[in-house]
């Protein structure tokens, strides 16, 4: 039997992430939907956490350093935000750090139901909390 040729029609394609190029910079915007409305303090904390992520990447030099500006964080409503990152490259270990930052915010402050097309951070449907979550903690 001949091997099938796959096309766009065979994929579930998401375009929820806005990605564009500005010269040598990639600008990408992500949508975050929370399970409940965030207070103003929680909204500020979410923005601070993402700005902190940027400075951690920049000054630690441990996660690749393609970020070129502080993230822009906007709340479209009290339970929906979007943030924009500007980078030279989308490759690198910064993705794991961003994943950890969002995962912990979701579990400690306000549940993130959706991050673009992903429900990885939703405590109700995402990966299960481990019995001893220290197994995933860095030493």
């Amino acid at each position: 039997m001949a091997k099938p040729t796959y096309t766009d029609a065979d994929l579930r394609i998401s375009t929820t992430t806005e990605v564009k190029r500005e010269g040598q910079t990639v600008v990408h915007t992500h949508r975050v939907l929370f399970a409940r409305p965030l207070t103003r303090a929680e909204q500020h904390l979410f923005a601070d956490v993402l700005v902190g992520f940027y400075y951690t990447v920049h000054f630690s030099q441990q996660f690749g350093n393609g970020l070129v500006a502080e993230p822009v964080v906007e709340f479209l409503s009290d339970h929906e935000a979007r943030y924009t990152l500007k980078q030279h490259t989308l490759s690198g270990p910064w993705k794991d750090l961003l994943f950890a930052v969002l995962a912990n915010f979701s579990h400690e402050v306000a549940p993130i139901q959706w991050h673009d097309e992903s429900r990885a951070f939703d405590p109700e449907v995402g990966p299960r909390r481990t019995a001893d979550d220290t197994v995933t903690r860095a030493p």
């Binding site: 990885a120 990966p127 197994v135």
Partner: protein, 107 residues
């Protein structure tokens, strides 16, 4: 065992239609930082793969997708024993989120 790889649409179709291409991957990752080194990445959970798909380098204008890889567990364990694959937890998250790295020699 099913693993999930999140990537841009063109890369997903390329893998589905032509398989993994070490030369292309090497060219793509040349001079770019990677999490566990030059190689191919997959996640144990689809929802985790969807997160990384949204950050795929080729994702400009075409969107992104997640593809499944069905790999026999004994083969995966052989690759891990031969150090051609690594099972790794994403650190500092409050749940178990595993990712797999495959060396180019494993293709």
């Amino acid at each position: 065992m099913i693993l999930y790889h999140g990537t841009d649409v063109d890369s997903a179709l390329n893998i589905l239609n032509h398989g993994l291409d070490a030369a292309k991957l090497t060219a793509l990752q040349l001079d770019r930082p990677t999490q566990l080194g030059r190689g191919w990445y997959a996640a144990y959970e689809a929802e985790v793969a969807w997160f990384f798909a949204s950050l795929a380098p080729g994702n400009v204008g075409r969107g992104y997708a997640v593809i499944e890889i069905d790999i026999p567990e004994d083969i995966l364990n052989q690759l891990i024993a031969a150090q051609q694959a690594i099972r790794s937890a994403i650190v500092n998250v409050p749940f178990g989120a595993q990712q797999y790295w495959f060396d180019l020699r494993a293709f």
